[in-house]
Subunit: 271 residues, 6 copies
């Protein structure tokens, strides 16, 4: 069986795997509107694609994808499914605990939903490491950070929700899922809406304050759901974006898998 997916393996194969490896990748996405061209699953496909390709390159397993996340700000667009933050924290906590119990002491959460999921992921994993599993380490990797360098090189416009980079990545990695005839130059002038205090480019320097909007506001200021223009999306752009991030992720994973401390080193009586 050469699937990288944990769910395709038997428990005996997993038992064998953890005799020599410590790591597992957990893809975390969302099911939410991505404008007229992006399917609802964009964020999960991004996470799955990164996880699967990095796993293949490094010989690791991938846990089942988390298809749902902190998406209530998109909830005015039908098809969006959202978890309350407390639910999301509970789900991640249970996954991290289950995997650590099995012996996965290096867990890499690949988040495809960018900033929205990060607070819940951070809170859940910090507390699992403090209270339940000092012997296991938990890393969060996100295109926002993984792709910072390459995005700076290749993006042609501000990149935000439904933008050219994320749609290109899906076009490259999961052909025929983006509606290419619906790619659009519709975008939202977040600087104008937020007096310069809301950043239009997720790969920019960020604002000096954080202001969130809610679902009704989003539907009002972005009737199509596209916050960035996507009409320059292309398979080639997606390939460059995706491969660069997979490369960064693989480098990290190799370091993480072979990491021996001081983090995660606990005295015998703590486990």
């Amino acid at each position: 069986m050469n699937s990288v997916w944990l769910a395709d393996h038997t428990w005996q194969e997993v038992e064998e795997y953890i005799t020599s490896k410590h790591s597992i990748i957990v893809p975390v996405g969302a099911t939410e509107q991505h404008g007229p061209a992006g399917p609802l699953g964009v964020d999960t496909y991004v996470a799955m694609g990164l996880a699967e390709d990095a796993a293949r390159a490094t010989g690791l397993l991938v846990a089942p994808p988390v298809w749902l996340g902190d998406s209530f700000h998109h909830s005015a667009f039908p098809g969006t499914i959202w978890l309350k933050s407390s639910t999301m924290i509970a789900v991640i906590t249970d996954i991290a605990h289950s995997l650590a119990e099995a012996g996965f002491t290096r867990q890499i959460y690949v988040n495809g939903h960018k900033g929205s999921n990060l607070p819940s992921l951070t809170l859940a994993l910090r507390e699992v490491h403090e209270y339940q599993h000092p012997e296991a380490l938990f890393a969060i990797a996100d295109p926002l950070h993984l792709g910072r360098a390459v995005a700076g090189e290749i993006k042609q416009a501000a990149e935000h929700h439904g933008g050219a980079l994320e749609l290109s990545q899906v076009m490259y990695r999961y052909p025929n899922k983006v509606r290419e005839d619906k790619l659009t130059d519709a975008s939202v002038d977040l600087e104008a809406i937020g007096g310069g205090y809301i950043a239009s480019d997720l790969f920019g320097q960020g604002s000096i304050v954080e202001i969130s909007w809610n679902s009704r506001e989003e539907r009002a200021f972005s009737p199509s759901g596209s916050i960035s223009s996507s009409h320059t999306a292309s398979v080639d752009l997606g390939k460059r974006f995706h491969e660069a991030m997979v490369g960064e992720l693989c480098k990290f994973i190799q370091w993480f898998e072979s990491y021996t401390g001081p983090l995660g080193v606990v005295s015998e009586d703590e486990i």
Copy 2:
């Protein structure tokens, strides 16, 4: 786009869909040990296969699969990932609410994890219907009940966790996922363990009391994780089991989609 999966559609396509349809199918499974031959994803594959085929036949959409469930009694076998019951209830509650907000007033939860997930599904959906969405109806379909008639005809032995019927179904519907060389006649004499008060056959009449076991007990009494023998599993058996259940499910869905009350009919001021 002719995918049945919601996540492959854009929000505008979903908005269009709900102008003429009311139903959506939600596959709910688990990631847990299924003996030496069954991959960890058996229950989710069962739910996905039933959901996808019924959706194709009836023209419906399918929500992203729920890969995790109430599996802690299998937690002594590595690779099993479990949600606490309170987490599971929260996840189902949030999904049902999100979909009802979008206008899906007929929701069919296809559970592949049999009895273990049923209490959480039932509690979540009953309270959503009572307190949040009186206008939406929620049905739970499970192989335990969908397959009762056909199982009686075709099964050759008691069917329990990791048994011939569920492995056959995966062999038929998702080729190459079952380790056919590991099919086994290992089984557990639950009647002996439970003095006749624990049923060995999930399709039998059931016991007069309910007694649950925990993860350590299971690992002790079933070292391989196989509770029923699976050595008679075959693609053909799986096809008969699966198709019969898809047939039952389609009949139900057609009735449900066109159902006009009295359940789910609320006065204007309640919505």
Copy 3:
């Protein structure tokens, strides 16, 4: 003191009891409408009657009755008192934990509220056995299963909420509580309401799907609250139904009290 009720004993008598016995019976009911003839306490009286008679026959103690349960679907009828499911799970968890701490390693929950309470009871007791008390075993007994055989022999019509069997049982065991002049042939054609997918007979084979109704729907389709006809109820019918179930329960309890494993056998360091 020859009361079977725990609350009538002193703590020293309980301390003495658990030097030789392991079991306790916990009656769980509800306070909810039972049609024009049934008092609100029917389910609790059923549970108390079964528990008390089985306890007397086997020399066991009975915990105080749980008078409230998952009854919100009856909440449109005044006098019904309901717990949210999360409250119900918390109550059962606390009871099971308290009793196990005292040394009651065999606990039998006798539920008089049939299917409605079962999910909460199951979730609570499964998690207590997994996480808190591997050394204690928890069984759930319910008229739905205890009475399956005898009901098949004696019932004269489909038996559902407020039906002839449960009212007869109260008439026999708690004289003068049923309003015999209000026994009724009012019943609800659940098959018609649910297109054949909702079973009219709780002792029948069940449906292939589970659909729940809510409180407003119930008040609309069953203005009297009687879902099954009760006009054939009689003390004699109640006696046959009750005694048969007490017999089954006693047989089970004797086995359970003397059961020595493998379930519930834990190594010293787990307790």
Copy 4:
């Protein structure tokens, strides 16, 4: 039907009742050790006796008793069953809400468990009145306050847990439940244990600080569980104590039932 117990009535009788009356009494007790002579149910019997007699005198209904409360400080004595405080708050919240939904706009909680249950009762009922039912009023009556005057006249010693007054009350109202041959002069010098800062007499002036003990401490300083001596308990003492409190309770209830505001008077749009 002349039972005062709600559970003995049908929903139609309750519907009739609330056309002319507003009040219901809810007895709240505990199941916990009461020394060598007191049965575990003392607190619940006290609450039930007060509730039943006041109901009979005033023509009111009584809800099913709450048999369990905040008793973990007695948990080192077997037979004690305790709810976590969060569970207790949830139970009281659900009861108050259910009864207010039915139209009971005057609810009297008669607590037999004295100070231990009061914080949970207070928190639950305050929030129900603030957030859920401004139209309903909730009163808490407790022997600590109801019996202050009469206790001052009749008690012969400091009265604390398991003392002469509460055991006398049960001896009078529920004959044969107290083990009269086990009445004891064992008591605990709480003043010595707590440097004068823990009061030995629940009917005294109280301390200037509140210090709580836990279950293991109690078992250590009070091996018999009797904190006050009970050897002077008698049926006659119980009668005087009980009847005086019933009298106070009846006077209160008559005022409460006929109370017309300003508390509980809400404008139409708030209900």
Copy 5:
């Protein structure tokens, strides 16, 4: 550094402190309306003043003040900030646990918010002592009890929310915070509102029942927010009230700091 405030010390100074001392004082107040003359912070200033002066006299540390409490019944007056009871319990639980982990085995909670905060404080601290920290003792001191004797001597009228005693105390201890030109003789006749069953004087004997009001009722019956008259408030009255309470508190603390059991003495394996 001779600040008594914990937050002004470094962790190394705290580490040194707990080699010789066990106690810490935690001031708990509220931010809520106190009539036309009292600033919103009255209750917190009361708690801080008592804590600081007692700490100075006894050489102890004071934790940061808890500025928010159970104040929803004042929420109809702007500026009031309230915690839900469950939040308040969580906050106190976390503080008590943090401090006990650091080695503070004697914790004195000085509550300035009188009865309103007491149930939450009691529930939180009782459960911390039972389940988390049997080795630490927790005391609650409140002006209601600390000041009972002196209030009886010096008060000139019934003292309730916004009354002369608490405003005097702030006038004395925190000059210029009370609006002396807005002192008022406005008061509420709670006896009339509550038929004699709601006490107008917090230092009186109390009622035989407890009835709570909600925020809208308070705004209606007390348009100024002043429940007691405050026009007799004076610095001198405040000084007498405050100093007497500080004296009582110091006496208690000295006893508590040197207390050696039996409460709080646990065997080695429990810690």
Copy 6:
């Protein structure tokens, strides 16, 4: 009364204030170790100082400080007091709701605890804006972002926990609170500990992944608690850092106070 602190005002003054202003500042800090020189209150003092000075310059009110936050990773150093993340979310939710109910439709949370508190603040405020108060806007300002520009100009070394910038700010704004004789060049090579994947400079570009450490690891790798060197701290450095941030904050607040939408503009029936 010219205090900027809400707690120093009466409710009538607040009622007057909100007839002409919409904004309030909420300082949020922590009580946690800050190395040998920093008092436990550093983060709260930073938040209070920024809030107070910005409020004075803009004529706004400041809510009482939140003294406790997400600090468990410092919990191995005594004196640290931490809230669980769920408690922190509840506290912020209750504050935001209380203030919005009073009419504060622009709330600025000034966080002195940098990254650690941000996830909880973000989750709480996002959900309040989505579900409870669409009419109110919530901004989070943090030295990490407010001070990015000025830090780049003035810092002389990597700045992390206990570093020169934050201690300088306290030295300037709250004289005599930093132990200047304990300023230290002790620092931790986080790059070495985390293979280059943990950033040593909070004002740098950040890592491509997020890895958290727990309390025991911190105590092991940083015995003094100082993660950055602080020996270059000075009042002058603090002044420049503080004043620059106050300037940024004031500019933001002026824009925010006068902002008229589209965010926060809701139709009448939503409020």
